[in-house]
């Protein structure tokens, strides 16, 4: 029995977190959030994603990728969530996954090496309407879950109060048929769940650190039992969400019998954990937590957006009921 990350997988995650801590910290994230006219994809970070293999993670070696799997991808997603990092990493990885799983040899040869290197930006869209696509305005290739490959579409920006992303409605462009990639929605849900888990853990860690130091009534506020118990429950919930995201990645990757259930469990648990943890982050920082200057809102807003992506918690629970209770 080995239900854990290997040393290599842990090191991969540590490398992403280390890079963000040193080279793209919350001040840099804030720069992107406040630069509302920008494309939301800072060049330094994108370059690093290409050079350090974050984008190449699931691309096969024959197409100049690392040939790793969804477990490693969720390690990266978790680290990017913890750093509330902006940029089209997830869309690019998912577009590559769709092409790897369902593309023609020519489509693979055209796109996979470029997506793996960061020479092209990818996006995965959930429907034919191509509405509110993540980084749609700068995407070189958009793949839809129903099996189309779109290039050269034009984008109209869609506002979102989560400033760590840019969204666009897309129209036009050239459409190529692509087989519908199996489990591509599951893969998307797993990577979003992992991002949410990263957000949730980081929000809790920062809140604990603050409440150990912040003094009111002559004592650290973290010594009050009502705060302790809430944070202890959050720690349990987040730990469970971490297990669930890890297992779902594995289950989808190996095509486990319970993969559908695992994905629904992971997404529902991670979404709830992140919304609760970032809400607590605001509450347990007191008034400062509600200010623009404080970082709590970066985590909270990203959690709110992603909790609704690729099925919100209620939708996934309806799926869980279907799988375990029948109709």
């Amino acid at each position: 029995m080995f239900f854990a990350l290997t040393e290599d997988q842990q090191e991969f995650g540590a490398a992403v977190r280390g890079y963000l801590a040193e080279r793209f910290d919350l001040a840099a994230v804030r720069g992107v959030v406040e630069d509302t006219d920008g494309d939301g994809n800072p060049a330094t970070l994108w370059k690093a994603a290409g050079e350090q293999g974050w984008l190449a993670v699931t691309v096969p070696e024959e197409f100049e990728g690392l040939g790793l799997g969804l477990v490693e991808a969720q390690v990266i997603a978790r680290a990017l969530g913890a750093g509330v990092a902006p940029g089209p990493w997830r869309g690019t990885v998912l577009a590559a996954e769709a092409i790897r799983l369902a593309g023609t040899d020519e489509q693979k040869a055209t796109w996979l090496p470029r997506l793996a290197a960061g020479a092209a930006v990818g996006a995965l869209a959930a429907d034919r309407a191509l509405a509110a696509v993540e980084y749609g305005a700068i995407a070189d290739v958009v793949v839809t879950t129903d099996g189309r490959l779109v290039t050269g579409a034009s984008g109209t920006p869609r506002g979102s109060y989560d400033g760590t992303v840019r969204l666009a409605d897309l129209t036009g462009g050239t459409v190529e048929e692509l087989a519908a990639a199996p489990e591509i929605r599951s893969r998307a849900a797993v990577l979003v769940a992992a991002d949410l888990v990263g957000i949730a853990r980081e929000a809790l860690t920062r809140t604990v650190a603050y409440d150990r130091e912040r003094r009111q009534f002559g004592v650290p506020v973290g010594s009050f039992q009502s705060i302790k118990h809430t944070l202890a429950d959050l720690h349990c919930t987040i730990t469970m969400a971490e297990h669930a995201a890890l297992y779902a990645a594995h289950a989808v990757e190996v095509g486990a019998e319970d993969a559908a259930l695992a994905v629904a469990v992971a997404k529902a648990k991670a979404g709830d954990a992140a919304v609760a943890s970032t809400g607590a982050m605001i509450q347990y920082h007191g008034g400062i937590g509600y200010t623009w200057e404080h970082e709590a809102h970066l985590f909270y807003k990203r959690a709110k957006r992603l909790a609704g992506q690729w099925g919100d918690s209620g939708t996934h629970r309806a799926r869980i009921a279907e799988l375990t209770m029948g109709g």
Binding site: F3, R212, H235, C236, T239, H243, A262, G314, A318
Partner: protein
Amino acid sequence: MDLSYTAAEEEFRAELRAWLGANVPDEWRRPGFWASLPEDESFRLRRDWERRKAEAGFAGIQWPVEYGGRGGTPGMKAIYDEEMVLADAPRTVNPLGLTFLAPTVMAIGTDAQKKEIIGPMLRNEVIWCQGFSEPGAGSDLAALACRGVRDGDDFVVNGQKVWTTNAVHGDKIFTMVRTDPGSERHRGISMLLIDMHQPGVDARPLKQMSGASEFGEVFFTDARVPATEVLGDIDDGWRTAMLLLSFERGASGISQYTEFRRQYDAIVGLARTLGRHTDPVLRDRLARVLTDLECLRLHSMHVLTQVEQGRDLGFEASMTKLIWSETFQDLWEVYDDLLGEAATLDQVSTESGGVDLRPLHAQSLWSRSVTIWGGSSQVQRNVTAERVLGLPR
């Protein structure tokens, strides 16, 4: 990631499954069977059955062969627990001994203690009770008042313990006793191994809100115990107790998942029988519980992995206790709510006849106890906040 067991472990599973298949009578699998028996008879049946199981080699799975165990792996122990649930095998009559005392003895007991305690426990020759809680010392264990005074080679013990599982069936009790007369709080306590078959020990059943009497009270009036019958050092019992409590469940969580998942499926079946299974609110609540049950399964795989890697789980045991007990209680709350106005009735009528709810009610009522015993949820949250998250005391 490797979620499989080894070939040797799977071989063990097949062997155990075959034995259980041949040795668990069909009648025992009937819902409500155990509840229909008088308590003494149920205990005697289970005690004998478990002894036969031990003689067949299916006991002390992880304990060394030289002390009467099977010398198996943590994976085999997880398999053992799971197969016991799948076979509807009766619950052990020696839970405190097997779960808590045995691993503590293996960790810090003398060689003589390992020989004297483990084997007889596995064969149910000695039923062990745990003497921790007192009327004035529940969650605050360090407030205990039970005292032992040195008299020659013995301690003479006076005081009272309560919430003692199997009190009236117990042969010996591992007991937290204040042996240093001037001591306070965590200091000056010893864990004494007291023979319950003596005039100075009086064990009485305690009737619970469910009507059953799993627990009891134990009164010590000049009870005697040799000073050598101590686990760990004299006056250092707090350290022994903390080690002992750290064995909370550990790698047996997989069987808990199996057990709770069966209960979930039974509740879903009842919802269907009652025509409530399409209610969207109920479905959402059941799906929440199922989500937490699945997480419990993954957590037990995590715990087993850590154990196999030789890592110390430390205070993570508090989280394990907290999540299984709270999830179990959540599950049975959904059951209560699904019944609506039939929530407390012994029977509910359906188109296909009456359903006897009493075995299910017994579980539902029991679920109120699990968040209290073995360290209440509130204590576990304190431990998690202070010892894991590092929040100030």
